[in-house]
């Protein structure tokens, strides 16, 4: 079956991703493309009980889309590594012409930006990871 083939190909990659303590892994081969991203919740859990000898990661919060829409970056846009001294706007998700603010929910450092400007997102999709 098609799905089984995919599962067979993905399994060893997933293993490598987990064992290596990676935060992001993308593999492309022809039409086949797979990307692993460590969910920030998992990253936080890893900080409590680090696997192997990976340096403990700082706790991270995932900022998820709570509406379906199109991501609009601010001008100038938020960049990875940026320090946030307080709760602030990171971007908007535009839904039926309404701009829904995406906020950092407190101070921290922008550890990862999962989306690009103009990208459509679904409900619950990770937009940013904020290191606290």
């Amino acid at each position: 079956m098609f799905e089984d083939t995919i599962a067979e190909r993905v399994r060893p990659l997933a293993q490598a991703f987990t064992d290596g303590g990676l935060t992001r892994l993308t593999v492309r081969e022809g039409e086949f493309e797979v990307e692993f991203r460590r969910a920030p919740a998992t990253a936080a859990a890893a900080a409590v009980a680090p696997a192997n000898d990976v340096a403990p990661a700082r706790p991270m919060d995932a900022i998820l889309a709570d509406v379906v829409g199109v991501v609009r970056f601010l001008r100038p846009p938020i960049t990875e590594g940026m320090a946030l001294d307080a709760d602030r706007e990171l971007a908007f998700v535009e839904t039926l012409g309404i701009r829904n603010a995406v906020r950092s929910r407190g101070p921290g450092r922008v550890a990862m930006i999962y989306v690009t400007d103009g990208q459509p997102v679904e409900y619950g999709q990770p937009l940013f990871a904020i290191e606290r």
Partner: protein, 453 residues
């Protein structure tokens, strides 16, 4: 024809719509809640978007997220299925305002038919018979006078009533004064409104409904009737069939004529159903459902018409591909709703993981479902897991086939209606046909207390 259709629903009907779209060469976008990520309707669609959390208000009723999904994906139409937003005129209007064709009737028609009083008035004006009833009656004497004009027994009802409160069956004039006083007092206590009216009491009516299709050019056809009289005490349908057995041919023709007349009167487009109470040769209009219905497959099997494809074609502006004369029913079809419910405990719904799922097959068997072995039944939604539909040259052969199909069905992990429906197939009264809507509730009572019968 559309390029891409957004399916604004879940479960078996979402999958059913997906199939119709793919057969028409139309791409599909599924929406799903976080609780439905593993559902078959998500797997089979060309694209799928999570629109919210498990509870329906966050997801399947979230108009902004659903319409937004349609726009993001470049869909040009929305199929609402049944339930959820299917009869929400505002949703249909918002879709239209955003350039998405709503696959259903015009929002104005949904509004008119959605209000029971308005629908009854429009139907009465078009000469469609409705249950005889009075306006507000101030005194028991007025109520008795009106009851004389329609004949006893009558139902005395509180205008604000619901759930049986403020409602009394009145068998004779002698009972009226007392019934009026107690029912009115009860309504006053429950709803702070003791105003009463009188309606004809139909003791054991059959629930018979007629399927219609109308295109955007004024052509309307009917696709016969369905008998949905086997209903749980909650009035939810459990077993449906087409055509209605043991029905006077004159009554059948009348139902069909009324349905087409009524649909024309409201300039109805797309698929719709007119529900009637049938009592002997008397026929009363109840309501019109402006959507595809759960039990549409029995009509499809008997008429050889794909109703969902017709809905999409009509919405895309195509003409009906057939005339009334082209539509001839063949044989009989029966549908059983396989629900995650416990028939031994008032059909209480159950949620959980389906550890094992095996559906029937073989000649004349159709299964519409979104579940599989290992799939999870979330607690947020309707408990229907599948519809098993069988056909037969005769009703007798269809019943035997349904019994066989249910005997092949294995669902483990939650209680279901499978065995109970199999028991009904073997019941003599069911086999004789022509049952009223009060039959199943009585059957359940007698089954529970066999000694008292």
């Amino acid at each position: 024809m559309f390029r891409k259709v957004l399916i604004a629903n879940r479960g078996e009907i979402a999958l059913r719509i997906n199939r119709a779209c793919h057969e028409l060469g139309v791409a599909t976008v599924a929406i799903f809640s976080e609780a439905d990520r593993g559902s078959l309707h998500v797997r089979h669609a060309d694209e799928a978007f999570c629109v919210g959390a498990g509870p329906v208000a966050s997801s399947y009723l979230n108009i902004a997220n659903i319409i937004s999904t349609g726009l993001i994906c470049g869909a040009d139409a929305i199929h609402p299925g049944y339930g959820f937003l299917a009869e929400n005129a505002r949703f249909a209007e918002i879709a239209r305002d955003h350039g998405l064709t709503f696959i259903g009737p015009a929002p104005e028609v949904i509004t008119a038919m959605g209000d029971k009083a308005t629908a009854r008035r429009i139907m009465a004006e078009s000469g469609v018979p409705t249950t005889p009833g009075s306006g507000i009656l101030a005194t028991p004497e007025e109520a008795a006078a009106f009851a004389e004009t329609i004949g006893y027994p009558v139902l005395l009802k509180a205008t604000a009533g619901g759930g049986g409160k403020g409602m009394r069956a009145v068998e004779s004039p002698a009972e009226m004064a007392n019934a009026f006083a107690t029912a009115s007092a009860e309504a006053e206590a429950s709803f702070k409104d003791g105003r009463m009216y009188v309606e004809k009491l139909i003791r054991s009516p059959r629930h018979i409904e007629v399927q219609v299709l109308g295109d955007q050019y004024g052509d309307v056809v009917h696709l016969g009737e369905r008998d949905c009289s086997v209903q749980k005490p909650s009035h939810q349908k459990l077993i449906e069939e087409a055509p209605a057995a043991a029905l006077d041919p004159a009554v059948r023709d009348r139902l069909h004529d009324i349905a087409v007349t009524a649909a024309r009167a409201v300039k109805y487009t797309n698929a719709g159903t007119l529900e009637f109470l049938v009592d002997g040769s008397s026929v009363y209009f109840m309501e019109m459902n402006t959507r595809i219905q759960v039990e549409h497959p029995v009509t499809e099997m008997v008429y050889g018409v794909d109703l969902v494809k017709e809905q999409i074609r009509i919405a895309a502006g195509e003409r009906l591909g057939f005339t009334q004369a082209d539509l001839q029913p063949h044989g009989c079809a029966i549908e059983v709703r396989v629900n995650a419910e416990d028939p031994e405990n008032n059909f209480a719904p159950a949620a959980g993981t389906l550890s094992r799922v095996e559906f029937p097959g073989g000649p004349g068997v159709r299964v519409d479902t979104h579940v599989y072995s290992g799939s999870v039944v979330p607690p947020f939604y309707d408990s229907m897991l599948a519809k098993i539909i069988v056909t037969g040259r005769t009703r007798e052969s269809a019943i035997l086939r349904m019994e066989r199909a249910l005997s092949e069905t294995r669902i483990e992990g939650v209680k279901t209606t499978v065995d109970f429906c199999r028991e009904i197939m073997r019941d003599e009264a069911f086999q004789r046909a022509g049952l009223g809507v009060d039959w199943l509730p009585r059957y359940l009572l007698e089954r529970r207390t066999p000694a008292a019968v």
